[in-house]
Symmetry: C2
Subunit: 176 residues, 2 copies
Amino acid sequence: MAAASRVLHEQGVEKTTLADIARVAEVPLGNVYYYFKTKDQLVEAAIDAHALNFHAMTASLDLHTAAPRDRLKALLRGWVEQRELTARYGCPTGTLCSELDKRTDGLDRVAAEVMRLLIDYAERQFRSMGRSDSHELAIALVAAYQGISLLTNTFRDPELMTGECRRLERWVDSLA
Amino acid sequence: MAAASRVLHEQGVEKTTLADIARVAEVPLGNVYYYFKTKDQLVEAAIDAHALNFHAMTASLDLHTAAPRDRLKALLRGWVEQRELTARYGCPTGTLCSELDKRTDGLDRVAAEVMRLLIDYAERQFRSMGRSDSHELAIALVAAYQGISLLTNTFRDPELMTGECRRLERWVDSLA
DNA sequence: GTCTATACTTCGATAGAC
DNA sequence: GTCTATCGAAGTATAGAC
């Protein structure tokens, strides 16, 4: 599962073969099918793992950081810390949503749920700050992150993430 | 070529077969290879066509709109007008950059050039407005657009584009 | 230049021994 | 549960008639 998550992010879903995953996981190809009936099921499991990961991150954040504004700034710091990975392979959530959208099966909806988790979390923080426009602000924040992730990846320049997150931090601070 | 551009945007590069393109173009499969030696060459030609399209759009914009601030707002209006297409298939440039990044050949760099065109155009307008931080502003504007394109597409909701572009217009207006 | 037929390769998926 | 061998479908690319 860990091998699958990593390789799917690095190579993309379409370009990743089950042989790739089996090789990285150091198991024979046929073995993969003992745990996952189809490639789609494996991809869905990887998305679920990603969602669990996000829940764990926000739970820890809620526990250690009380002020909603600080939680948002912690999100920004986390994005900056991941900038090298993002420059190389893009945002894991964003690349999944972008790629899986092209599919006719329901797998794109599963990816969309993870994106929804992020927006909802940001929206809760803005609401706790007393903003009535919390939804619009959350959309703007996540859009800015997804957009700069794409540019960071497209131009292979991690410092794009640093600069934009600095700007976003000033923006978060400027909100009453 | 027109058929290829459309299908590649709608289905994505990886999920589009040459048979798909041949069918939409109403030519037999083998015929495609008379004009393009490989699928990669066809994709590259589609990207080039997209770049030409962008040049035509900005040339017309420069001709009919004098004030740089109005040119930026015209860009925003164009994005809102395309919102239904974006909700269904994403931003043509953004989806290409995201998908082609996963490739080892040089095709990802070709897609990045188109993204660069957009950033450079925005940057020139901000500079004409007398902003010394024109580069940072251009990155922020394009990132916001690419991000909201991804969300619009992920949630299949064209009104996300409408709302965010309204916010961006206020932002552009607020800049000295 | 246009079209049909097909060769070659890759990959998802399965069969069946151990 | 693990592993090897292989089937069958799909898709890129080519050969060669017209």
